[in-house]
Subunit: 266 residues, 2 copies
Amino acid sequence: MARGTREDRGAFRAFGAFGDLRWSVAIGRAVERMTKASSLGLEAIEVVRLHEQVYQTLTRALMSGRIPPGRKLTSRKLAAELGTSDMPVRAALVRLQSLRALVALPNGSLILPRMRRGQFADLMAARVLCEGQAAELVASHATAADLRAIRQAGAALTQAALDQDIDDYLARNYEFKFHIYRACGSEALIFLIETLWLQAAPFLRQFAGKFEGALAGILEIDYHDELAAALAERNATLAGALMRRDIHEGAEYLLAHGDFDAEASS
Amino acid sequence: MARGTREDRGAFRAFGAFGDLRWSVAIGRAVERMTKASSLGLEAIEVVRLHEQVYQTLTRALMSGRIPPGRKLTSRKLAAELGTSDMPVRAALVRLQSLRALVALPNGSLILPRMRRGQFADLMAARVLCEGQAAELVASHATAADLRAIRQAGAALTQAALDQDIDDYLARNYEFKFHIYRACGSEALIFLIETLWLQAAPFLRQFAGKFEGALAGILEIDYHDELAAALAERNATLAGALMRRDIHEGAEYLLAHGDFDAEASS
DNA sequence: CGATGAATTATGCGATCACATTTTGAGGGA
DNA sequence: TCCCTCAAAATGTGATCGCATAATTCATCG
């Protein structure tokens, strides 16, 4: 595919590219070809489809806030950027659209939607509902290993806040929360929560990023330490309440300080 | 495309075909071509993409229980059945997979998954959570027109139960419930509920269908009349409780009487 | 008759092509 | 400077092609 010849296109460099997309895809393909080497005693290699890799890459870019609201994502540009054809990109985009992470313009173009204040509040209310419930379930379902992992993730989160590293904080926050949710024992609930995060997470970085300096203060509305403790005590009611409060107060903070899209439309 | 030449393939006739898929798709295409007729004063015609029509068709087939669990859905067969190429079918299938309505086998084939008892209980618990909350919201958000529509849908539902028509009952039940949810004012919640129904609805017909005769008794665990009344009085707490009870008792009934997949596997 | 293995078919996945429409950009005129 | 026009590029969408693997069929052998 003459990978070198497109080095200068870089339509997406504007927002820092997607990282090392092209490399990971290229490696994935090489790996795929090695699948049936020869019968030496080698472990099986998991085949990862291109469209899956593209999806993972786009998801990471979205979740970490590297794609600005309003950005149009075209399959051809992305395909060129990744060094693949349209097809795997289209499949990934269809997935993201069906999960409401992207929305279609009247002509079918897909954009990362702009977020209106009311919309964000709505999403956060749904998060409170689902994630509060998940936290309650975890208090009764979690294994000792789960609780240990949750505590560790919580410690890393605290450290990120103290380090004033907003990107690290958001990533650690995701890790901490999903360590909890994955231990709740309800596949259905986990899936719902994932879809909510896919819709909301792209905006956290935008809104939170404006207060780079004030990150230390965020611990005042962050109850993850108490939450981890409540889970360890298997206090479902308290854990649920703390999770809800954490999400609610974080949402209040962002609703107060973030700049959203104009409320008028639709 | 020589549509007539495939008349005898009909791989999906086995479960009653998908209805009039091919016709609706063909009509859709004809309509699409008429879009830019001439500037007489005609109303605009909405262009509906093929992949969207395919998705709608498959969704209807799923939701009404016309596709048996374990059925493999292949893009080529469906495309032949519908008289289109693979591409629109693939897009529709990707959507259904990403919403967990279909699941992929290791080789990438998609099937309507079999449902295990624990899984179904899990889904129903998530429904109780989300739909209970939605009912509460409706009590405060609904307009008078909403309430009128809900009452009408409720009356139709009652009639279907008295008529002992299981398919009509399930369809009316869907209509009634979603009249409510759509009035809740939370787009996020509606979306979550839709995904839950897409996962659960394909099995309702299977499980409920075994008790063809006993349908009159279903009204004993069906609180839609009381629910409509509670909404009309804007009693949020009661409406939420009734919705939860309706779902819960319906789920208990199916869990007790339905035949699920063996619980063992994963 | 039942099992085994080879040939055939079906299928997932990605690439490429084709077409209509939309979007963009340059040029020119008021 | 602003607006209009028109050509060129971009884009969504669907069809078709090709390859590798998986599933199925069928014939042969025990």
